[in-house]
């Protein structure tokens, strides 16, 4: 079954006004259950917009988005996905445990169920002793792990992530990539992941979707043939470098065209 299906979707902001933006034009993408798909491309190419359309935080101007065979709106009402952003977005006035419990509170779970699930999630992200801390007492990487725990607390089949490791240093970042893969393997979660980093996209993904701006669209899809098991050795394998090259060429081809356009404009 397809976890996410995006069919001929376009998104225009401020239609008909002088500041009209064609954020996405005719985008089509299918994500299979259990698949890890990354969206990569320069700023403003519509990655976040595409993710928000899947999350039903935005409505498409035309086209159709389905999640788990439902409309995106229904999937949101059913909390079929969890979401994580570049800012961990934890609530400073709640303990770590209460942060993880928030989506469950909104689902109307009772206290015992919530508490049991929070314990399970703290184990999953390997921070069991931090439940009663406040978010600001944690490092950036730990906060981001709690944000992932919160996104997965209701056991959603789909995880949507918008540059979640963008604010972390390189060391923490690589550690978090390993953690994310471990968590997804343990839970069988499908992931759509927005990033600026080519190695990050390749290391994590089954497929890397390359996008380009003005209007935002998909220009290339790179299959990454690294198999399911990934570890530190993965980063030294030939297939890893081949995929990196393929993604880079996809981005570069577009960059050349983009520069050309810029010159024409002037």
């Amino acid at each position: 079954m397809t976890a996410v299906s995006v069919r001929n979707v376009s998104k225009v902001f401020n239609q008909g006004k002088p500041n009209q933006v064609d954020a996405l034009s005719n985008v089509a993408l299918d994500v299979k259950q259990g698949e890890f798909v990354s969206l990569i491309g320069p700023s403003g190419c519509g990655k976040s917009t595409l993710l928000r359309l899947v999350a039903n935080l935005l409505e498409p101007t035309s086209g159709e988005v389905t999640v788990n065979g439902k409309t995106a709106a229904q999937a949101r009402l059913d909390q079929d996905y969890g979401m994580a952003f570049q800012q961990a977005g934890l609530f400073d006035w709640r303990t770590v445990r209460k942060n993880i419990e928030l989506p469950l509170e909104l689902k109307g779970w009772d206290k015992q169920q919530r508490s049991a699930r929070a314990d399970e999630m703290l184990q999953l992200v390997q921070l069991p002793e931090f439940g009663d801390h406040y978010p600001w007492q944690l490092s950036g990487g730990m906060q981001q792990r709690i944000a992932i725990a919160r996104a997965l607390a209701a056991h959603p089949p789909l995880l949507l992530m918008d540059e979640p490791f963008g604010a972390l240093d390189e060391m923490t970042r690589e550690y978090m990539q390993g953690e994310l893969l471990r968590i997804c393997a343990a839970t069988g979660t499908t992931v759509v992941f927005v990033t600026h980093s080519i190695p990050e996209a390749v290391y994590l993904s089954n497929r890397v979707v390359v996008m380009s701006p003005r209007p935002g669209r998909i220009t290339k899809v790179v299959d990454v043939s690294l198999g399911g098991e990934r570890n530190e050795d993965t980063r030294n394998r030939t297939a890893f470098f081949e995929a990196i090259t393929a993604v880079r060429e996809g981005l570069r081809g577009m960059h050349a065209a983009h520069v050309g356009l810029g010159n024409d404009d002037r």
């Binding site: 935080l57 400073d92 006035w93 303990t95 909104l106």
Partner: protein, 258 residues
């Protein structure tokens, strides 16, 4: 930890006390040395003497002004918080009223008490309390409305991704976000309430509060007594401010980042 905090506190308090003592000493010495007339400058010792001999009267006057300030502070806070909810619910109202509230804060609206005095009996404390209420109301309104509306966009997107209702977003995001804003506004509003209560007394009504006692003693050339009432006014303002600061730090202990 407690020892450490104690020494830190002493480090702040001791220099302040030393400076205060030095200031009073120089003041006292200057009055004696230059033989300044009491109507020009009164010595701290005679102010203190007036303060202790008239203590019952001063306490009575402080109770009157303090009660006016407190009633207005509570009423203004309740009304300000209530109105901030209305404003945050209707964004366009917010855009209309916030600039108005800011403008009203910039002009000394307590002169309105002269008008209010005409509306009530001459002995009524109500005009003064209304005046304090108004001043506090706008301070609380502007700050709390800001706390309710200036929430992190990430938080709002998260809540929408959980299909949270507007009421749930209000309860779980906007209100907790506004709580520190409320305590900050109280820290501003509490001293303002006391000042407004004093100043309101200059515009007529009963001659029973600290403000009217200061002016009547000055009118009778009893400068030391006037200063004793000024001292009481300072202490009352300090009391209101200290309580509001203590409330804020108690709230912080509840876990919100310093």
């Amino acid at each position: 930890m407690t020892i450490h905090r104690l020494t830190m506190l002493l480090g702040k308090v001791v220099p302040a006390i030393l400076f205060g003592a030095l200031f009073l000493g120089v003041w006292e010495w200057a009055v004696k040395f230059f033989e300044l007339k009491p109507y020009f400058l009164t010595a701290p010792s005679s102010i203190w003497q007036q303060f202790t001999t008239n203590f019952a009267l001063i306490r009575g006057a402080a109770t009157v002004s303090g009660t006016n300030a407190l009633v207005g502070l509570v009423a203004g806070t309740v009304l300000g918080v209530a109105m901030s909810f209305v404003l945050s619910r209707f964004g366009f109202l917010n855009q209309l009223i916030t600039p108005l509230a800011v403008a009203l804060n910039a002009i000394p609206i307590f002169v309105l008490v002269a008008v209010l005095n005409n509306m009530y009996s001459i002995t009524s404390e109500i005009p003064r309390r209304i005046m304090v209420t108004l001043v506090v109301y706008f301070i609380v309104l502007v700050n709390v409305a800001r706390g309710l509306t200036q929430v992190s966009p990430t938080h709002v997107e998260l809540m929408r991704s959980y299909a949270a209702s507007d009421v749930a977003i209000l309860r779980k995001v906007r209100i907790p976000n506004a709580v520190p804003f409320l305590f900050t506004s109280l820290k501003i509003a509490a001293p303002a309430a006391v000042i407004t209560a004093f100043v309101s007394e200059y515009f007529g009504g009963s001659q029973n509060g600290l403000g009217s006692r200061i002016s009547s003693n000055i009118a009778n050339s009893k400068n030391a007594a006037a200063w004793a009432y000024v001292l009481a006014a300072c202490l009352l303002g300090l009391l209101f401010y200290t309580v509001s600061v203590a409330m804020e730090s108690l709230n912080r202990k509840g876990g919100v980042k310093q």
